[in-house]
Amino acid sequence: MNSQTPALEVKGLSVEFPTRKGVLTALSDVSLTVERGEILGVVGESGAGKSMTGMAVLGLLEPPGRIAAGEIRIGGQRTDNLSDAEMETVRGRMVGAIFQDPLTSLNPLFSVGQQLTETIRLHSDRNRAEARAHAIGLLKQVGIPGADERIDHYPHQFSGGMRQRVVIALALAGNPQLIIADEPTTALDVSIQAQITTLLRTLCREHGAGVMLVTHDMGVIAETADRVAVMYAGRVIEVGLVEEVLNKPKHPYTRGLMGSIPALGARVERLTQIDGAMPRLNAIPPGCAFNPRCSEAGARCREVRPALVANARGSVACLVHDGGVA
């Protein structure tokens, strides 16, 4: 395998949910790349499709949801057309997952060590003793004090932050090239949140794994990610380096989103607000999905769906930057 192949390549991914009232398109033409050792932040509001993208990559879409079009490649290998049985070997070994709530991601009936060694032995040919030694090593790596003893404790004996560290250790157990972290810090307090994001950054560097960090928190993105993809109504609308997107957002939605975050630095009289709400999946407007809420929208925005066009600093899907709105 070539070390230049990106950890994750998603091309033109569409996810559909057939229902009695017609087909709902949850993701439409989503393209992303995560390089090795890179953290790609995926932001958007509830229902934008950011978690759905992660689930599609993991092959964990809830039926009747299905991939309707597009390609997913993890470390160069195509995974979207694999059977469920084949996906079992992909998950854990090629892609690890960290979810929001560490309590529900761990089995309460098994000790942390049992869960770790099970995963390690499933994905490598270590024997029991070697797997246990490796598990202790992983717990040390994720910063759990007294790992030698803690390995025999059960999930309820850990605090929220420590549990999330265990989940990270589990995600790393199969030494995957890609980690999907879905809101890994949302359930944690701010002081713990900073510990976890810093840990993610160091581990990502050390292991050379790519991380797709799904979150709604721009602050976490600003401090953790290298590049960021902004999603809206199942589409990627802007991608670029974190400093670029956050400081000089091009898409009107990203601009509105940035303006609506209360800043720590200075107090403003009134926050910028984007009126209205994200469209429901059964009522996505034609053309640009953001056009009914956009202050710059013109006639063309209601007819033509803007493509993600690359520029010098990233790419953006907006007609203002691509041929005009009129």
Binding site: G161, A222, E223, R267, Q273
Partner: protein
Amino acid sequence: MRSPDNALEVDQLTRVFDVSAPWLNRVIDRKPKRYLRAVQDVTFTVRKGKCLALVGESGCGKSTVARLVTGLYAPSEGAILFAPAQKGANSGKPMEAQMIFQDPHASLNPRWRVGDIIAEPIREFGLRDGNEAIAARVAELLRTVGLSPDDAGRYPHEFSGGQRQRISIARALASEPEFLVCDEPTSALDVSVQAQILNLMRKLQDELGLTYLFISHNLAVVRHMADRIAVMYLGRIVEEAETEALFADPQHPYTQLLLQTIPDVASPNRNRELMGGEPPSPLDPPKGCAFHPRCPLAAERCRTSAPEVRARQGGGTVACHLAP
């Protein structure tokens, strides 16, 4: 009341919960009763027309304070004093207080129409006579919070999270309160919707002269909303000051660490110094200053004696042996 300008005075408020095992288990296991001091010796005042924010991490007792203030819990010790109501000044009744809860999905009755939800306090307090007057008042409230009067006939599940929080605000305003306790009103919302709700709350404060007790764990939101901030840690207020003074010159080590660890979009700090450790369990708080196990400055004195709340340089109060 110590000053006629105060809307609320809370004095040495303490709330203890009995979290003992059931009687029989206690006898068999020979375990003593266990108590959790959720809020301890909390003192603060809120001025009329102003906004005081309580901030802290989960389990620090901020929501318990909100429930004590609204009377949902009875205090174990201490006093809560509301200013006399300004409307109908001669009645001598205390100021009306209402509450907005965090989760707008759980705080609205799914079987009631929005109009009935908002009308209930109006009927209950007899604020309007006749169904027509009540319906008119409901329509007016819906318009105040940025919804359409037609929405009165719909059910809560037909609305998005932000709209539901608007309905909660309309219901809270229905009894014409002068004081609102807001317990994490935007934590369950997306940022762009959060901005809509925060703008609405600021507008209502200006128009109706409301006084807010605002509870949040998000310091950026608090900075936007509050005139004064009280930082809580393990049931106690560790620092209280005017918003700008607190942000410019945090004096308690916990406030300093909290301000350092918040991810900030405007000036991200990618190589931050981390706050080590985690908040201890309130069931078994550390001796002396509750923050000493995590405090980088902790001295011998901090491990043995709890610091008194004292005047803070530049206004406000602080509870730390080492603060200037």
